[in-house]
Symmetry: C2
Subunit: 117 residues, 2 copies
């Protein structure tokens, strides 16, 4: 996914939708390129989304009815803004909760000594 300095890229699989939905929850409205730049700056340059991962995922989210798009003319270029739908909002909350639960479960396996972390 993400060109990134992290060695284990597979770890990041499955988090892309969660990341996008959560960012949209916070920012309200974003376009694709903006998402890549925001993720890069928020992660100290460690996670850099690739277009080959990002755009197909955005299109999937749209097809699933979790986001809607508005095109906006900027000079001669067109930007495509994405906004969460109500079901997209719910999905964002669920996905983040699922991620937290995932981290907790893996923590049980990786840090059994630390009583309850």
């Amino acid at each position: 996914m993400y060109i990134c300095p992290m060695h284990n890229k597979e770890l990041l699989k499955g988090t892309l939708k969660t990341i996008i939905l959560q960012l949209l929850t916070e920012k309200g409205r974003m376009y694709g390129y903006e998402i890549t730049q925001t993720v890069k700056s928020m992660t100290e340059g460690q996670i850099q989304l690739t277009e080959g991962a990002l755009y197909p995922t955005l299109h999937k989210l749209e097809a699933e009815g979790l986001v809607v798009t508005q095109k906006e003319q900027i000079g001669k270029r067109v930007r495509k803004y994405y906004t969460l739908t109500p079901s997209g909002n719910k999905a964002a909350v669920n996905k983040v909760a699922e991620f937290e639960e995932f981290v907790r479960l893996i923590g049980l396996l990786l840090h059994p000594k630390k009583s309850l972390q």
Copy 2:
């Protein structure tokens, strides 16, 4: 991976090697079936490894020189025990550290409000 009640199975991708290496670090010596049962009990039944994921991964770890095997006759059945090699030990430490870093980075994206969690 892993048949499991978690809804977002993709989240777990990329963690299997890390889990196996870490378990071997703790337990010293394990066989495949034992790994599936240990993971199940340690995660409250939430993560259940499938053979289709586990065995190919164990074979890969062996091919990479991170584990070695000893077969043991138990009655008429044969158990295949896996033990970490020195490079397997290093790999375990690295993988767990990578996972921690991954969680930290995703945390930057998902919990921007919590100062430094």
